[in-house]
Symmetry: C2
Amino acid sequence: MHSKPVALDAMGGDYAPSALVVGACRAVRDGIPVVLVGDEAKLRPLIPSGMDLPIVHASESVGMDESPASAVRTKKDASIRVALREVAEERASSVVSCGNTGAVMAASLMELGRIDGVERPAVVTTVPRTDGGQVVILDLGANVDCKSSHLGQFGVMGQVFAHHVLGLENPRVGLLSNGEEEGKGNEQVRATLPLLERMPINFIGPIEPTHALHGGCEVLVCDGFVGNVMLKSVEATIEIAGKLLKEEIRRRPSAKFGAWLLTGAFKRYRKRTSANAIGGAYLVGVNGTVVVGHGRSDSRAVYAAISTAHTAVSEQLTSHIGTAVSTALAQTEQEDPS
Amino acid sequence: MHSKPVALDAMGGDYAPSALVVGACRAVRDGIPVVLVGDEAKLRPLIPSGMDLPIVHASESVGMDESPASAVRTKKDASIRVALREVAEERASSVVSCGNTGAVMAASLMELGRIDGVERPAVVTTVPRTDGGQVVILDLGANVDCKSSHLGQFGVMGQVFAHHVLGLENPRVGLLSNGEEEGKGNEQVRATLPLLERMPINFIGPIEPTHALHGGCEVLVCDGFVGNVMLKSVEATIEIAGKLLKEEIRRRPSAKFGAWLLTGAFKRYRKRTSANAIGGAYLVGVNGTVVVGHGRSDSRAVYAAISTAHTAVSEQLTSHIGTAVSTALAQTEQEDPS
């Protein structure tokens, strides 16, 4: 049992603050305690009367177009920083933000700090594979320029995440590459391979996106630039596939009738593939539970992200990750001859 | 009118040589002259009697698992090199290969050479957008580690390609990034932006994959590592989307009947999204017409790649690209104050 609320950065995201308040209300109705963090004057009128949804006032916010690091550094009273302080000072269990990922990352480093031994926290989420499984991908945008040592640590954090979140005993870890044959990969891939081989993980080598999405591994390691491009390409292609199919269906009346019979199937398909259903990504490697929602999150996605954070706290995910990562990294350092 | 045949590297690709010969036969029946290049003893028995499909013998071939550069350098009689010499010595109009892209690139540099002023040739193809348009993407894997100057040239070659292949007057060129706001992008993106701004092209700045695939630009510039990951992610996601939808359809009998009415629509959808229908990618920046097919190409994809090469030759695409690129690059050098 935990009774501390999820702190929601109510000022972050394309549809802030209204979609965030609506998502928070749904969570409260479902029995998940939430505290809104943001401009009280803007938030108060959005809360239905009688709803148990407290506000922690924050006088500033970080825009999607600001340089995240400097905005967060100068704005000590930004909603994301205030929300994270609620966790650091143990008044809240976790933070959910749909704001700028870079800003969430920078603020988390300032307010929560890194897990011992972790060089760079990473953003991680799972993506469905064709075989019905899931693949954990990290980093998804927190670190656009990575050293090999960062990627090596992502392998360890990804393995721990797959174990604790997906319940896998011995998840296979692959390094994203443009090919799996000898000589493929860019300079970074070639420099990182020997490092990942030394880590105490089930590392299977370089892997192509096609192979990974078809079930070739449970954890996919990449830098945040490539990972972000891959995730956004997957999301956009799902939309393109739906649109092209709709166009073909509309060409003939019999097909239109067929499509009507398929309404339920299409709806379930959309639910399974919608970015809004995923419920956000975790920031792993910081001392606290932080869930980053999509900037375009609607109230349903906000609700999903709050549920994700709530579940992670119930399962003590951050503490499991912290312990496992520290152990794995210490072990690697001992083994490391250099 | 041109009567020179397309030289097909009959030993390259996962289904070589049989799928390649079948694809070549279909092209010959359609009036496109083809010459097979490869091991005569293996190829001769595959050719139906009476079919006008000559063979140029090549005693070696490059495997998918060899280091492309060194394999191509040492194997002077590799099928890809012999095929390219048919073009260099003006006995063939163009080359089609479904072999290792790196090997095709390395061999093309040796046998055909680069267009004057081009630092690095690039692999380019078009991908469908949600708005019904197409986006030209380059590089797709020939250059996994790029300098900013290479990316700048890709912008020029991409613009020329979009103009001559898609018939667009003033195609918008974007630089692939993880975000479009100030401060987003990795080091390479930030270093390349000022360079692309100086090029004589319609450069619109950094662009996210989602925005590009939804119609934000006609030309998308990226390094070969990221481009390859993006293309493979798009291809894999199209398969995933189809598979998930099929699963949902199979859940209910009424949906199954609906799906039966949609058979034609699904078929047309698959045709529009199949990698086999695309017909290969061009290698731009070399002195000759070279089409690179997918390693997994079946006979239909081989036929499509041969048609692509044949059409490119009819339209003198390589010479148009050569002239336009040389002019653009010369213009940029004159303008360049450094």
